[in-house]
Protein backbone atom coordinates (compact mmCIF):
# COMPACT_ATOMS: atom_id res chain seq x y z
CA UNK A 1 0.00 0.00 0.00
CA UNK A 2 2.88 2.38 0.73
CA UNK A 3 4.93 1.16 -2.24
CA UNK A 4 4.57 4.36 -4.13
CA UNK A 5 5.45 6.57 -1.16
CA UNK A 6 8.64 4.62 -0.45
CA UNK A 7 9.68 4.39 -4.04
CA UNK A 8 9.22 8.12 -4.61
CA UNK A 9 10.43 9.74 -1.36
CA UNK A 10 11.80 12.86 -3.03
CA UNK A 11 8.62 13.64 -4.88
CA UNK A 12 6.50 13.01 -1.80
CA UNK A 13 8.69 15.30 0.26
CA UNK A 14 8.70 18.00 -2.40
CA UNK A 15 4.92 18.03 -2.70
CA UNK A 16 4.52 17.91 1.07
CA UNK A 17 6.76 20.96 1.32
CA UNK A 18 4.73 22.70 -1.35
CA UNK A 19 1.54 21.83 0.49
CA UNK A 20 2.94 23.16 3.75
CA UNK A 21 3.95 26.35 2.01
CA UNK A 22 0.45 26.88 0.53
CA UNK A 23 -1.17 26.28 3.92
CA UNK A 24 1.42 28.28 5.85
CA UNK A 25 1.21 31.39 3.70
CA UNK A 26 -2.59 31.23 3.56
CA UNK A 27 -2.86 30.88 7.33
CA UNK A 28 -0.47 33.76 7.99
CA UNK A 29 -2.50 35.97 5.68
CA UNK A 30 -5.77 34.79 7.21
CA UNK A 31 -4.51 35.52 10.74
CA UNK A 32 -3.10 38.88 9.69
CA UNK A 33 -6.46 39.86 8.21
CA UNK A 34 -8.86 37.90 10.41
CA UNK A 35 -7.75 38.95 13.90
CA UNK A 36 -7.84 42.70 13.13
CA UNK A 37 -11.19 42.24 11.37
CA UNK A 38 -12.57 40.42 14.39
CA UNK A 39 -11.34 43.23 16.65
CA UNK A 40 -12.88 45.78 14.30
CA UNK A 41 -16.27 44.03 14.61
CA UNK A 42 -16.14 44.29 18.41
CA UNK A 43 -15.72 48.06 17.96
CA UNK A 44 -18.27 48.49 15.16
CA UNK A 45 -20.82 45.70 15.69
CA UNK A 46 -23.11 47.04 13.00
CA UNK A 47 -20.69 45.64 10.39
CA UNK A 48 -20.99 42.18 11.92
CA UNK A 49 -23.79 41.06 9.59
CA UNK A 50 -21.97 42.16 6.45
CA UNK A 51 -18.58 40.70 7.36
CA UNK A 52 -19.66 37.42 8.93
CA UNK A 53 -22.52 36.97 6.45
CA UNK A 54 -20.27 37.67 3.47
CA UNK A 55 -17.77 35.20 4.80
CA UNK A 56 -20.39 32.53 5.34
CA UNK A 57 -21.40 32.90 1.70
CA UNK A 58 -17.81 32.29 0.64
CA UNK A 59 -17.77 29.17 2.81
CA UNK A 60 -20.75 27.79 0.92
CA UNK A 61 -19.03 28.03 -2.48
CA UNK A 62 -17.54 24.64 -3.29
CA UNK A 63 -13.77 24.98 -3.29
CA UNK A 64 -13.29 23.63 -6.80
CA UNK A 65 -15.82 26.19 -8.08
CA UNK A 66 -14.11 29.02 -6.20
CA UNK A 67 -10.72 28.15 -7.66
CA UNK A 68 -12.32 28.09 -11.11
CA UNK A 69 -14.23 31.34 -10.58
CA UNK A 70 -11.09 33.21 -9.52
CA UNK A 71 -9.07 31.95 -12.49
CA UNK A 72 -9.98 34.76 -14.91
CA UNK A 73 -9.03 37.52 -12.44
CA UNK A 74 -6.12 39.61 -13.78
CA UNK A 75 -3.31 39.53 -11.19
CA UNK A 76 -4.48 36.53 -9.20
CA UNK A 77 -5.16 34.30 -12.16
CA UNK A 78 -1.65 34.83 -13.48
CA UNK A 79 -0.12 32.30 -11.10
CA UNK A 80 -1.85 29.19 -9.83
CA UNK A 81 -0.22 29.22 -6.39
CA UNK A 82 -1.09 32.89 -5.88
CA UNK A 83 -4.69 32.13 -6.67
CA UNK A 84 -4.72 29.05 -4.44
CA UNK A 85 -3.32 31.02 -1.51
CA UNK A 86 -5.95 33.70 -2.02
CA UNK A 87 -8.81 31.20 -2.05
CA UNK A 88 -7.47 29.28 0.95
CA UNK A 89 -7.12 32.54 2.87
CA UNK A 90 -10.75 33.35 2.18
CA UNK A 91 -11.84 29.98 3.57
CA UNK A 92 -9.63 30.27 6.64
CA UNK A 93 -10.90 33.74 7.46
CA UNK A 94 -14.33 32.96 8.90
CA UNK A 95 -13.38 30.86 11.93
CA UNK A 96 -10.63 33.32 12.81
CA UNK A 97 -12.82 36.43 12.57
CA UNK A 98 -15.63 34.70 14.40
CA UNK A 99 -13.49 33.41 17.26
CA UNK A 100 -11.70 36.73 17.68
CA UNK A 101 -15.07 38.44 17.94
CA UNK A 102 -16.58 35.86 20.28
CA UNK A 103 -13.42 35.66 22.40
CA UNK A 104 -13.38 39.39 23.01
CA UNK A 105 -17.11 39.94 23.47
CA UNK A 106 -17.21 36.95 25.83
CA UNK A 107 -15.02 38.67 28.42
CA UNK A 108 -16.91 39.36 31.66
CA UNK A 109 -18.58 42.77 31.52
CA UNK A 110 -17.34 43.81 35.01
CA UNK A 111 -13.73 43.19 33.92
CA UNK A 112 -14.10 45.42 30.90
CA UNK A 113 -15.98 48.03 32.91
CA UNK A 114 -13.30 48.05 35.62
CA UNK A 115 -10.61 48.47 32.96
CA UNK A 116 -12.42 51.50 31.54
CA UNK A 117 -13.12 52.92 34.99
CA UNK A 118 -9.44 52.61 35.97
CA UNK A 119 -8.63 55.01 33.15
CA UNK A 120 -7.18 52.56 30.61
CA UNK A 121 -7.27 53.82 27.04
CA UNK A 122 -9.07 51.60 24.55
CA UNK A 123 -5.70 50.58 23.10
CA UNK A 124 -4.46 49.55 26.56
CA UNK A 125 -7.66 47.60 27.13
CA UNK A 126 -7.15 45.80 23.83
CA UNK A 127 -3.54 44.78 24.44
CA UNK A 128 -3.57 44.20 28.19
CA UNK A 129 -7.06 42.84 28.77
CA UNK A 130 -9.00 41.81 25.70
CA UNK A 131 -6.37 40.04 23.61
CA UNK A 132 -4.75 38.12 26.50
CA UNK A 133 -8.14 36.94 27.76
CA UNK A 134 -9.43 36.06 24.27
CA UNK A 135 -6.22 34.42 23.09
CA UNK A 136 -7.15 30.82 23.69
CA UNK A 137 -10.48 31.25 21.87
CA UNK A 138 -8.64 32.92 18.98
CA UNK A 139 -6.15 30.05 18.82
CA UNK A 140 -9.09 27.62 18.76
CA UNK A 141 -10.32 29.43 15.64
CA UNK A 142 -6.88 29.27 14.04
CA UNK A 143 -6.81 25.57 14.79
CA UNK A 144 -10.12 24.89 13.03
CA UNK A 145 -9.07 27.09 10.10
CA UNK A 146 -5.73 25.30 9.73
CA UNK A 147 -7.29 21.86 9.60
CA UNK A 148 -9.82 23.03 6.99
CA UNK A 149 -7.01 24.64 5.04
CA UNK A 150 -4.81 21.51 4.92
CA UNK A 151 -7.72 19.56 3.45
CA UNK A 152 -8.81 22.21 0.97
CA UNK A 153 -5.26 22.76 -0.23
CA UNK A 154 -5.37 19.32 -1.89
CA UNK A 155 -7.99 20.74 -4.28
CA UNK A 156 -5.55 23.47 -5.30
CA UNK A 157 -3.75 20.91 -7.44
CA UNK A 158 -6.74 20.99 -9.79
CA UNK A 159 -5.68 24.43 -10.97
CA UNK A 160 -2.02 23.47 -11.05
CA UNK A 161 -0.97 25.04 -7.76
CA UNK A 162 0.85 21.90 -6.69
CA UNK A 163 0.80 20.34 -3.24
CA UNK A 164 -0.22 16.83 -2.20
CA UNK A 165 -3.38 17.09 -4.30
CA UNK A 166 -1.15 16.38 -7.31
CA UNK A 167 -0.90 12.75 -6.21
CA UNK A 168 -4.60 12.53 -5.52
CA UNK A 169 -5.64 13.85 -8.91
CA UNK A 170 -2.95 11.84 -10.69
CA UNK A 171 -4.01 8.71 -8.84
CA UNK A 172 -7.65 9.33 -9.71
CA UNK A 173 -6.91 9.68 -13.39
CA UNK A 174 -4.64 6.61 -13.37
CA UNK A 175 -7.13 4.67 -11.18
CA UNK A 176 -4.18 3.87 -8.91
CA UNK A 177 -4.93 3.85 -5.18
CA UNK A 178 -1.26 3.80 -4.25
CA UNK A 179 -0.75 7.16 -5.87
CA UNK A 180 -3.90 8.59 -4.27
CA UNK A 181 -2.71 7.46 -0.85
CA UNK A 182 0.68 9.06 -1.44
CA UNK A 183 -1.22 12.35 -1.40
CA UNK A 184 -3.95 11.52 1.08
CA UNK A 185 -1.83 10.03 3.86
CA UNK A 186 0.69 12.86 4.24
CA UNK A 187 -2.16 15.38 4.00
CA UNK A 188 -4.08 13.58 6.73
CA UNK A 189 -0.98 13.37 8.92
CA UNK A 190 -0.34 17.05 8.37
CA UNK A 191 -3.90 17.92 9.43
CA UNK A 192 -3.60 15.75 12.53
CA UNK A 193 -0.23 17.22 13.46
CA UNK A 194 -1.48 20.78 13.04
CA UNK A 195 -4.57 19.95 15.10
CA UNK A 196 -2.54 18.40 17.92
CA UNK A 197 0.04 21.16 17.96
CA UNK A 198 -2.49 23.98 18.06
CA UNK A 199 -4.59 22.01 20.53
CA UNK A 200 -1.57 21.87 22.81
CA UNK A 201 -1.00 25.61 22.42
CA UNK A 202 -4.64 26.18 23.26
CA UNK A 203 -4.51 24.08 26.42
CA UNK A 204 -1.37 25.87 27.57
CA UNK A 205 -3.02 29.24 26.98
CA UNK A 206 -6.22 28.11 28.69
CA UNK A 207 -4.21 27.09 31.72
CA UNK A 208 -2.42 30.39 31.95
CA UNK A 209 -5.58 32.27 31.04
CA UNK A 210 -7.92 30.55 33.47
CA UNK A 211 -5.59 30.44 36.16
CA UNK A 212 -6.53 33.55 34.80
Amino acid sequence: MFDFIFSHPREVLALTAEHLWLVGVSMLLAIAAGVPLGIFLTRRPRFKGVVLGGNSIIQTIPSLALFGLLLPLPWLGARADRLAVFALTLYALLPIIQNTYVGITGIDAPVREAATAMGMTSRQILWHVELPLALNVIVAGIRVATVICVGLATIAAAIGAGGLGEFIFRGLSMVDNHVILAGAIPAALMALAADQLLGLAQRLLARVGHAR
Partner: protein
Protein backbone atom coordinates in the same frame (compact mmCIF):
# COMPACT_ATOMS: atom_id res chain seq x y z
CA UNK B 1 -8.30 72.16 45.01
CA UNK B 2 -10.99 74.81 45.42
CA UNK B 3 -13.98 75.11 47.69
CA UNK B 4 -16.47 73.78 45.16
CA UNK B 5 -18.07 70.49 46.17
CA UNK B 6 -16.05 67.41 45.21
CA UNK B 7 -18.91 66.19 43.05
CA UNK B 8 -22.00 68.06 41.99
CA UNK B 9 -25.10 67.03 40.05
CA UNK B 10 -27.09 69.93 38.59
CA UNK B 11 -30.45 69.10 36.99
CA UNK B 12 -29.10 65.82 35.69
CA UNK B 13 -31.27 63.56 33.62
CA UNK B 14 -30.16 60.29 32.11
CA UNK B 15 -31.99 58.53 29.28
CA UNK B 16 -31.03 55.22 27.71
CA UNK B 17 -30.56 55.01 23.95
CA UNK B 18 -34.07 53.51 23.94
CA UNK B 19 -35.30 56.80 25.50
CA UNK B 20 -36.17 55.27 28.84
CA UNK B 21 -35.51 57.81 31.59
CA UNK B 22 -33.47 56.25 34.40
CA UNK B 23 -32.72 59.44 36.29
CA UNK B 24 -34.96 62.51 36.69
CA UNK B 25 -33.59 65.96 37.46
CA UNK B 26 -30.98 64.96 40.01
CA UNK B 27 -29.51 67.74 42.16
CA UNK B 28 -26.93 66.69 44.67
CA UNK B 29 -23.61 67.93 46.01
CA UNK B 30 -21.03 65.65 47.61
CA UNK B 31 -18.76 67.42 50.10
CA UNK B 32 -15.05 66.85 50.27
CA UNK B 33 -14.09 64.07 52.66
CA UNK B 34 -17.61 62.80 53.25
CA UNK B 35 -19.04 59.36 52.69
CA UNK B 36 -22.29 59.75 50.82
CA UNK B 37 -24.42 56.62 50.61
CA UNK B 38 -26.73 56.22 47.63
CA UNK B 39 -29.46 54.02 49.04
CA UNK B 40 -32.33 52.55 47.07
CA UNK B 41 -33.82 49.42 45.52
CA UNK B 42 -32.49 48.11 42.21
CA UNK B 43 -33.60 50.25 39.30
CA UNK B 44 -33.69 53.39 41.45
CA UNK B 45 -30.85 55.02 39.51
CA UNK B 46 -28.03 54.76 42.06
CA UNK B 47 -25.55 52.90 39.87
CA UNK B 48 -26.48 55.16 36.96
CA UNK B 49 -25.68 58.20 39.10
CA UNK B 50 -22.34 56.67 40.09
CA UNK B 51 -21.34 55.99 36.50
CA UNK B 52 -22.12 59.56 35.53
CA UNK B 53 -19.38 60.71 37.90
CA UNK B 54 -16.49 58.92 36.19
CA UNK B 55 -17.92 59.25 32.73
CA UNK B 56 -18.86 55.60 32.18
CA UNK B 57 -22.20 57.17 31.24
CA UNK B 58 -22.85 60.69 29.99
CA UNK B 59 -25.72 62.83 31.28
CA UNK B 60 -28.52 63.42 28.76
CA UNK B 61 -29.46 66.74 30.39
CA UNK B 62 -27.88 68.88 33.05
CA UNK B 63 -24.33 68.79 34.32
CA UNK B 64 -22.19 66.60 36.53
CA UNK B 65 -19.06 68.32 37.86
CA UNK B 66 -16.01 66.88 39.58
CA UNK B 67 -13.82 69.36 41.46
CA UNK B 68 -15.84 72.16 39.98
CA UNK B 69 -15.20 71.11 36.40
CA UNK B 70 -17.95 69.53 34.27
CA UNK B 71 -17.26 65.89 33.44
CA UNK B 72 -17.76 66.70 29.76
CA UNK B 73 -14.77 69.06 29.91
CA UNK B 74 -12.47 66.60 31.68
CA UNK B 75 -10.11 64.38 29.75
CA UNK B 76 -11.93 61.15 30.67
CA UNK B 77 -8.73 59.15 31.09
CA UNK B 78 -7.35 61.77 33.52
CA UNK B 79 -10.66 62.00 35.34
CA UNK B 80 -10.87 58.25 35.85
CA UNK B 81 -7.35 57.96 37.19
CA UNK B 82 -8.30 60.71 39.64
CA UNK B 83 -11.23 58.58 40.90
CA UNK B 84 -10.95 55.13 42.48
CA UNK B 85 -13.63 52.63 41.52
CA UNK B 86 -14.60 49.44 43.32
CA UNK B 87 -17.43 47.15 42.28
CA UNK B 88 -19.17 44.00 43.43
CA UNK B 89 -17.10 40.85 42.88
CA UNK B 90 -14.13 43.15 42.36
CA UNK B 91 -14.06 43.12 38.56
CA UNK B 92 -10.43 42.04 38.89
CA UNK B 93 -8.37 41.07 35.86
CA UNK B 94 -8.36 37.27 35.98
CA UNK B 95 -5.01 37.06 34.20
CA UNK B 96 -3.26 39.43 36.62
CA UNK B 97 -1.87 38.46 40.00
CA UNK B 98 -2.97 40.24 43.16
CA UNK B 99 0.11 42.41 42.88
CA UNK B 100 -0.48 43.27 39.22
CA UNK B 101 -4.12 44.07 39.86
CA UNK B 102 -3.26 46.40 42.71
CA UNK B 103 -0.45 48.03 40.73
CA UNK B 104 -2.64 48.73 37.70
CA UNK B 105 -3.32 52.45 37.98
CA UNK B 106 0.12 53.54 39.30
CA UNK B 107 1.60 51.56 36.42
CA UNK B 108 -0.67 53.31 33.92
CA UNK B 109 0.54 56.54 35.46
CA UNK B 110 4.15 55.44 34.92
CA UNK B 111 5.26 55.66 38.53
CA UNK B 112 8.93 54.91 38.94
CA UNK B 113 9.53 51.30 40.08
CA UNK B 114 10.70 52.00 43.65
CA UNK B 115 7.78 54.24 44.47
CA UNK B 116 5.38 51.82 42.78
CA UNK B 117 6.64 48.85 44.77
CA UNK B 118 6.46 50.71 48.07
CA UNK B 119 2.95 51.94 47.36
CA UNK B 120 1.54 48.58 46.25
CA UNK B 121 3.02 46.97 49.34
CA UNK B 122 1.51 49.67 51.53
CA UNK B 123 -1.91 49.42 49.96
CA UNK B 124 -2.03 45.61 50.10
CA UNK B 125 -1.12 45.73 53.78
CA UNK B 126 -3.76 48.40 54.27
CA UNK B 127 -6.52 46.09 53.00
CA UNK B 128 -5.23 43.16 55.04
CA UNK B 129 -3.51 41.15 52.31
CA UNK B 130 0.18 40.93 53.30
CA UNK B 131 2.09 40.91 49.99
CA UNK B 132 4.47 38.19 51.13
CA UNK B 133 1.53 35.80 51.21
CA UNK B 134 -0.73 37.11 48.48
CA UNK B 135 1.18 39.00 45.81
CA UNK B 136 1.59 36.13 43.32
CA UNK B 137 -1.88 34.66 43.67
CA UNK B 138 -4.48 34.94 40.96
CA UNK B 139 -8.03 36.11 41.67
CA UNK B 140 -9.47 32.60 41.23
CA UNK B 141 -7.25 31.45 44.09
CA UNK B 142 -8.85 33.91 46.50
CA UNK B 143 -12.05 33.91 48.53
CA UNK B 144 -14.79 36.41 47.68
CA UNK B 145 -13.77 38.61 50.58
CA UNK B 146 -10.13 38.58 49.53
CA UNK B 147 -11.05 39.47 45.96
CA UNK B 148 -13.02 42.38 47.29
CA UNK B 149 -10.00 43.51 49.26
CA UNK B 150 -7.88 43.43 46.12
CA UNK B 151 -10.57 45.49 44.37
CA UNK B 152 -10.32 48.03 47.16
CA UNK B 153 -6.51 48.02 47.02
CA UNK B 154 -6.67 48.64 43.27
CA UNK B 155 -9.08 51.53 43.79
CA UNK B 156 -6.84 53.09 46.46
CA UNK B 157 -3.45 52.42 44.87
CA UNK B 158 -2.90 55.73 43.07
CA UNK B 159 -4.26 57.58 46.12
CA UNK B 160 -7.19 59.22 44.32
CA UNK B 161 -9.08 61.88 46.29
CA UNK B 162 -12.44 60.40 45.28
CA UNK B 163 -13.69 56.82 45.59
CA UNK B 164 -16.76 55.36 43.91
CA UNK B 165 -18.03 52.10 45.30
CA UNK B 166 -20.86 50.11 43.74
CA UNK B 167 -22.19 47.60 46.27
CA UNK B 168 -18.63 46.46 46.90
CA UNK B 169 -19.63 44.13 49.73
CA UNK B 170 -22.88 42.97 48.14
CA UNK B 171 -21.81 39.45 47.20
CA UNK B 172 -20.16 38.54 50.50
CA UNK B 173 -21.36 36.36 53.34
CA UNK B 174 -22.64 38.35 56.36
CA UNK B 175 -19.58 37.78 58.52
CA UNK B 176 -17.02 38.77 55.89
CA UNK B 177 -19.22 41.68 54.95
CA UNK B 178 -19.37 43.01 58.51
CA UNK B 179 -15.61 42.62 58.81
CA UNK B 180 -14.95 44.53 55.58
CA UNK B 181 -17.45 47.23 56.52
CA UNK B 182 -15.69 47.79 59.82
CA UNK B 183 -12.26 47.88 58.19
CA UNK B 184 -13.51 50.21 55.49
CA UNK B 185 -14.85 52.57 58.12
CA UNK B 186 -11.50 52.64 59.93
CA UNK B 187 -9.65 53.12 56.67
CA UNK B 188 -11.93 55.97 55.67
CA UNK B 189 -11.40 57.72 59.01
CA UNK B 190 -7.68 57.59 58.36
CA UNK B 191 -7.70 58.53 54.67
CA UNK B 192 -10.71 60.88 54.55
CA UNK B 193 -11.46 60.37 50.88
CA UNK B 194 -14.59 61.66 49.28
CA UNK B 195 -16.64 58.50 48.86
CA UNK B 196 -19.85 57.83 46.98
CA UNK B 197 -21.08 54.42 48.00
CA UNK B 198 -24.01 52.60 46.38
CA UNK B 199 -25.95 50.16 48.52
CA UNK B 200 -29.42 48.70 48.95
CA UNK B 201 -28.69 47.70 52.51
CA UNK B 202 -30.04 50.19 55.03
CA UNK B 203 -27.82 49.08 57.91
CA UNK B 204 -24.74 49.43 55.71
CA UNK B 205 -25.90 52.94 54.79
CA UNK B 206 -26.42 53.89 58.44
CA UNK B 207 -23.14 52.35 59.52
CA UNK B 208 -20.83 53.84 56.90
CA UNK B 209 -22.45 57.03 55.69
CA UNK B 210 -22.05 60.60 56.85
CA UNK B 211 -25.12 61.27 54.77
CA UNK B 212 -27.63 59.05 53.03
CA UNK B 213 -29.20 59.97 49.71
CA UNK B 214 -32.36 57.98 49.26
CA UNK B 215 -33.27 57.17 45.67
CA UNK B 216 -36.44 55.71 44.28
CA UNK B 217 -37.43 55.13 40.65
CA UNK B 218 -34.88 57.54 39.27
CA UNK B 219 -35.65 60.32 41.72
CA UNK B 220 -33.74 61.57 44.72
CA UNK B 221 -36.17 61.48 47.65
CA UNK B 222 -33.96 63.28 50.10
CA UNK B 223 -30.55 63.49 51.73
CA UNK B 224 -30.32 62.76 55.45
CA UNK B 225 -27.77 62.32 58.17
CA UNK B 226 -28.09 58.87 59.81
CA UNK B 227 -30.11 60.28 62.74
CA UNK B 228 -32.33 62.39 60.50
CA UNK B 229 -32.89 59.37 58.33
CA UNK B 230 -34.33 57.34 61.21
CA UNK B 231 -36.62 60.27 62.07
CA UNK B 232 -37.60 61.20 58.52
CA UNK B 233 -41.28 61.51 57.67
CA UNK B 234 -40.94 60.65 53.97
CA UNK B 235 -43.08 57.63 53.06
CA UNK B 236 -40.20 56.26 50.98
CA UNK B 237 -37.99 56.14 54.06
CA UNK B 238 -40.48 54.23 56.14
CA UNK B 239 -39.93 50.73 54.72
CA UNK B 240 -36.19 51.11 55.35
CA UNK B 241 -36.72 52.23 58.92
CA UNK B 242 -39.13 49.35 59.48
CA UNK B 243 -36.62 46.88 58.08
CA UNK B 244 -33.88 48.34 60.23
CA UNK B 245 -35.98 48.30 63.41
CA UNK B 246 -37.12 44.75 62.73
CA UNK B 247 -33.50 43.68 62.45
CA UNK B 248 -32.58 45.50 65.63
CA UNK B 249 -35.36 43.73 67.47
CA UNK B 250 -34.07 40.37 66.31
CA UNK B 251 -30.74 41.21 67.86
CA UNK B 252 -32.24 42.50 71.11
CA UNK B 253 -34.32 39.46 71.88
Amino acid sequence: MNDSPAIEFAHVQYRTSGNRVLLFDLNLAVRRGEVLMLLGPSGSGKTTSLKLINGLLAASEGRVSVDGKPVAEWDLIRLRRHIGYAIQEGGLFPHYTVWENAALVPKLENWEPGKLRARVEEVLNMVGLPPAEFDTRYPHQLSGGQRQRVGLARALAADPPILLMDEPFGALDPITRAELQREFKELQQRLSKTVVFVTHDVSEALLLGHRIALMDQGTLRGVYGPREFLAAADSAVKPYIDAFRAMQQVFQT
